[in-house]
Amino acid sequence: MKDVTFGQYFPAKSFVHNMDARVKILAVIAYIVAVFLVKAFHFLGFLACFLFVIIATIFSRVPFLKVLRSIKGILFFIILSAILQIFFNADGKILLEWKFIKITDKGLLNAGFIVARISLIVLGASLLTLTTSPVEIADGIESLMYPLKWIKFPVHEFALIMSIALRFIPTLLDETDRIIKAQKARGADFESGNLFKRAKALIPVLIPLLISSFRRADELADAMDARCYSGSKNRTKYKKMRLTWRDAVATVFIAGLIVGVVFLNKFYWLLVV
């Protein structure tokens, strides 16, 4: 359960780590837009996006394998969508036919396209969470959502909920691990039986987990009360976010990626004859 790379902060000192969290979040959004802009089967566009990730990874000093491993978490999802595309896409030239299953060249291309698209998105997003601590991300989102205050949206509270949730993920994982062990020691069996039986076996884990989450929430609320926490009013930040030259460089870089992708879409025939 501890192998969740996706979303785990990798502390280091690097160009990317030192960037403003807001810029990083916007950059990832721009990057995802770029991935989506790539027109069907213009794989060169994906290559540009992949190059972008590689360069960003180099500048983040995160081991490349660690970034790649983030795909492992959604491998099942990727494989499933690939299979759906391959087997149930009836368009195009038929390469193989067996009963109701038809494998077509278009189906294969589609599958490759979707796999590349999902993988690239996950790679980019995981680079954000690997180089930006949860607190920074929450702060960044809060700052980016600031305009919503005009329509009375509780931006600060929203960010607080988010950062608390992020903060408690590892705690809950630990707790789950402990409760599972305690019930196993009492003979609970989570591995055998049919689906229904297995789901039922989870009750002795879920109930203590729920109860302890409520207890933690209560304790946290009390602790915040005791320190006179009162929401966003007149609250200053311990860490001010500042734009630096790095953010300017990164912005130029990401703009370059988008221009590149659009260019490739338009003039693909120039490069591939």
Binding site: A185, R186, P204, I211
Partner: protein, 290 residues
């Protein structure tokens, strides 16, 4: 059941770096009938070690062996369910594992898992036995929700849930954490009561040196995943310097003995309160005769 580990090593995650070993070449034998203490600083590997004993943490390849009675935990066909029925484990803050609607059901959980063929009447007898052993009034608590009990009662219910199948080895991971002095005393009395009946071996993980000095027949000191000392409390606590190097305190009785020594009174004793008093009394009597 005799408990025997040899060169047991363990690292969390995939890290193979030697620095990250949570356990390193732990070789230890606990004989049947012992009241064995495991002490060491937070993070020294105590929990990791005891969780190996009933297979909650699986033995990795080439990282030592564990043998408990006829069970060889390194073997593929080792029946962990059977082992867990005979080696009960009480976790730190065991009350957090309560889940059922009633106390009865929660305590019966272990019986239903380990001995699914037990008749309802027999289950009732076993649950009643367990609840009364931990000092609760069966009729009063059996239909209550475990969550409406007091903290101390919850812990008793949780322990009843572990001893209900009468395990012959009982492993307790810091069981007195968060108890008041009165609760602690009662708890220790309960352990001795169990040790005199069906529980043959007790392994007690604790920070509390007084507890270990007073109750354990032998103890092992863990430090950075290794065992740095094994022996009777007397042997362990006589060597104050090496103990302090691992960041542990001495029991109060050992401090007093040392202070008496500095004052010129040698009161050799085994660091139990009784032992210390006897030593002082005999010293006083000798002094009178002189």
């Amino acid at each position: 059941m005799r408990i025997e580990t040899e060169k047991l090593s363990y690292a969390y995650g995939e890290s193979k770096a030697l620095m990250n070993l949570a356990l390193k070449d732990v070789t230890l034998t606990v004989e049947e009938g012992e009241f064995f203490g495991i002490i060491g600083q937070t993070g020294s590997g105590k929990t990791t070690f005891v969780q190996h004993l009933n297979g909650l943490i699986k033995l990795k390849k080439n990282s030592g062996s564990i043998k408990i009675g006829e069970f060889d935990l390194g073997e593929k066909k080792c029946d962990f369910k059977k082992l867990r029925a005979r080696l009960g484990m009480v976790f730190q803050y065991p009350e957090y594992q309560l889940f059922a609607e009633t106390v009865f059901e929660d305590v019966a959980f272990g019986v239903k898992n380990f001995m699914p063929e037990t008749s309802p009447e027999q289950v009732e007898v076993m649950v009643k036995d367990a609840l009364e052993t931990v000092g609760l009034n069966y009729l009063k608590v059996k239909d209550k929700s475990p969550f409406e009990l007091s903290g101390g009662q919850k812990r008793r219910v949780a322990i009843a849930g572990v001893i209900v199948t009468k395990p012959e080895v009982l492993v307790l991971d810091e069981p007195v954490a968060g108890l008041d002095p009165q609760g602690k005393r009662e708890f220790i009395a309960l352990l001795h009561k169990l040790h005199k009946s069906f529980v043959k071996t007790i392994i007690l993980v604790s920070h509390d040196m007084d507890l270990v000095a007073e109750n354990c027949t032998r103890a092992a000191v863990f430090s950075h995943g290794q065992i740095v000392a094994v022996g009777t409390p007397k042997e362990i606590f006589s060597n104050a310097e090496s103990l302090e190097q691992t960041g542990l305190d001495l029991p109060l009785t050992a401090y007093l003995t040392n202070m008496l020594k500095q004052a010129g009174i040698t009161a050799e004793n085994d660091y139990t309160v009784d032992g210390l008093i006897k030593a002082i009394v005999s010293e006083i009597n000798c002094g009178g005769e002189r």
